[in-house]
């Protein structure tokens, strides 16, 4: 056997190994991992690649023209130290927006978070299958409407020429003599919470319904044999079985508290309710794009960075607290 024979045997062996590996990948369903790639690419492109841009928080943004390179603007933008952060602390509007972000998120957490859990349990308890599916579809449908559409519906319902006012006027004109529902600081936050629950509550049930479907039926069968009624089974079996999921969702929502839903608020708010409705995201948008003076990406980046740092701290804290109470958490 000469060296060329040995080489060809080695090559054949290598090809065989490669085939075996591919076969093994195919058999072991690793192929499904390929589906992660696009998501991974999205995260890398839109989440990690822009990260160097955070440096703008310490710079005065100056555009560059004709320069090559993804981050050429960083070298052309002069450093201004902590100027943007100092400006931030002095801006009363920023603190109003920060407070509003917390308050609105908290309201949504308190009133909005339990809603899908309760709704999922109620839907699960329905016995008529067709009715159950219809109800689920009705509740889920609003999720697929954009906030532009939903806000249009809200304006048409509650505006000055809207249906609600027309009906109330026909009953008693005095009730609507100074109609100001959409531009009233007192009614704006409840409007946000209710419309958010209406739009997203049904969609939120999907995860919980899936978790409920995964509960071992023998638990319920045993409880029925022991004489437990429906309510007792919900309290003693269903809820404890989905607690882990509830905790995970709670942690995620707490970690997202500084995002108070830009789309919703931007489409519904107006200057008279800025004092209760302007959140950090809308504040950044106004300062960045709607300013009459030259835009300052540096300042906007500083605000965004501040927001995300708070979000990060909240996420870690919520996770730690969950662990202290004996739950798994997300990390």
């Amino acid at each position: 056997m000469d060296s060329s024979d040995i080489k060809s045997i080695q090559n054949a062996q290598k090809a065989k190994n490669r085939k075996r590996i591919l076969k093994r990948i195919w058999q072991l369903k690793w192929i499904y991992l390929l589906m992660v790639l696009p998501g991974l690419a999205v995260i890398i492109i839109f989440r990690y690649l822009p990260l160097p841009g955070i440096a703008l928080a310490w710079k005065k943004f100056t555009p560059t023209f004709g320069a090559k390179g993804l981050y050429s603007y960083l070298s052309s933008s002069k450093s201004v130290g902590w100027k943007h952060f100092r400006s931030l602390w002095r801006e009363a509007e920023f603190w109003t927006a920060t407070k509003n972000t917390f308050v609105i998120s908290l309201l949504k957490l308190v009133f909005g978070f339990p809603f899908p859990v309760i709704l999922a349990i109620l839907i699960n308890e329905m016995t008529l299958k067709r009715y159950k599916k219809t109800i689920q579809t009705i509740y889920t449908f609003p999720h697929f409407l954009s906030w532009v559409v939903v806000s249009g519906m809200v304006l048409n319902l509650f505006g000055d020429t809207g249906a609600v006012k027309s009906v109330l006027t026909s009953i008693n004109p005095n009730w609507t003599s100074n109609w100001n529902f959409l531009y009233n600081s007192k009614s704006f936050r409840p409007l946000l919470v209710v419309s958010d629950i209406w739009k997203e509550g049904g969609w939120g049930t999907i995860l919980y319904l899936a978790a409920i479907a995964g509960i071992d039926p023998s638990l319920h069968e045993a409880a029925i044999v022991d004489g437990a009624n429906r309510f007792q089974r919900i309290i003693r079996i269903t809820l404890p079985e989905i607690t882990s999921l509830i905790i995970i969702m709670l942690i995620l929502q707490i970690g997202n508290m500084m995002n108070a839903n830009f789309d919703q608020i931007f489409n519904l708010y107006s200057p008279p309710v800025f004092d209760v409705g302007d959140v950090i995201d809308t504040y950044i948008y106004r300062k960045t794009f709607q300013s009459s003076t030259a835009l300052d990406y540096g300042f906007s980046t500083a605000v965004g960075l501040f927001k995300n740092v708070i979000n990060f701290v909240l996420l870690i804290s919520a996770n730690r607290i969950a662990k202290i109470f004996g739950h798994d958490g997300i990390m």
Partner: protein, 570 residues
Amino acid sequence: MKKVLALILAACMILGLAGCTQPATPDAGTTPAAQEDTKKDEPAPADDTKEAAPADDTKEAAPADDTKEEEPAATSEYDTHVTISMDVLDAEKTNISAKDEFFRNKFNIDWDLYPVTWGDWLEKIRAWVNADDMPDIVWWDMKAANTAEFKQWAAAGAFREIPEDLSRWPNLQRLRDELVSDDALLSVDGHLYGWPSSRQNPPELDNCYYPMFAYRRDWAKAVGMYKEGDVYTWDEVKAMIDAIKAQDPGGNGVGNTIGITMESWAWEQYQLVTINSPNPDRLGYHKDENGNYRLYEATDEFADAIEFAQSLYQGGYVWKDQINDSGNDGFQKFLAGQAFMFLGNDSPAWFNGDVLNKMVRGGIVPDDEAVAPMIVLSECGDHNFYLIQSEDYWTVASISHNVDDEKFERILDMWDWLASEEGRIFLVAGVEGKDYTKNADGTYNILWEKDETGAYISPYQDMAFNIYTPATLTASPNETSVQYGYKLFEPIYDYMANSGNFVSQKMPWEVMAWNGPEYSEYGYFYSDISTEISKIMVSDVDAHEEWAKFRESIADKLKAVEDELNANLK
């Protein structure tokens, strides 16, 4: 099977991701161009004060048919075909007519249109320019207040310089000689980087802008409160609105007729306040009696005007949902006969376009006398009629630094031709042989169809806002006899010229052109002021007290700007 599906799905997602990457040039056909546009700050094509050659109406007009007739083809003197990208409003209506084809053939070009809407125009321009991802022609609704930003871009090399020697383009040179803004706002170190689209205003307008009212004259007559000449005080206007709500001449139901609606920008720019502000100088920074620059909006006089505007809103004279109108609902309400008055850019061109085409020809109003422009005298101060001087242009176009010499010269050739008399005829009448023919004596035969009143019906739409706008706005289309709006404005112009009550608030060019750091950062606090005025008008608060609080909140920043202006411009 599942595995195969997973593979296909993953491949599709990766391909989809690749599809999200930026193409060499965006495809106007696939971008969401068909968004609802609203006419914001619409330019007012000027009256043509020159005697125009009368159209020969006696000859039989041939029907204009885009599809059946053989189009007169333009021959191009250019050998090389170029594609020019440009942002445009109403992209879906642009570059589709025979007229556009003629223009493309003439200059041997294709257009690559970047759609913008009134709502996202400034945002998109800012994003494109700052990311160095701009179209060849960057066309935007640049105001004097945007000067600092423009100069920052120009100084950093965003745009190509418009040559100082325009002898090759004599029509552009003529416009440069007439304009003030080119040197005052659009030049950096003596080099011009933006081309202003001249308004070509008639002298009697004194370069003022038209934020004024249109009203239902027929309703005013129906309630017996019409005044010859269409000049009213606010007390008379309020009495009319009350009477119209009660007597319901429009058939909307008692109490349902809206008093005043307006363009969304008119609310945002607090026009209801400014038209009642008695300051003879332009709003913004002006010199006080000591020669110091002061922000007029920070005065008690201005607070009086806010208080009055608030009383109109609170009194139910202004449409309550106007504050939330980011589109053109205000105009739609007026158009639909639900509102008595409409505040906007109600110029002769607007009457010729929207009112004539939609309300008169659309049968919404009984005759062409039913809607008219109106003067409402200021409630504050000396009860005069105020209009604010504006820039002498509407919109600015700059040419990207990425454009090569050949394309650059082609663009200037196009603009020069559009600014010529031949170009003006093209803009107002279209293509020779298809839309009009010339007589030996220099007059024109317009070949368009006529309506029942004998007025020509243009087969072209939105001529003011498209690929041709950057060169210059056009003078009035006398050749096509669209005189409706101009006739309506005759008494208005007469009042402005002869009553002694018309005041044009002057444009302080020196402040507008200033580029100091404090002024660049804060300007005249337009966004803050607009927000605060909205808050006050909608709330039942003491306007003076709230305005004083607001002034206090911006006091430090305002002082910094005023100090800067006084140190440098006084």
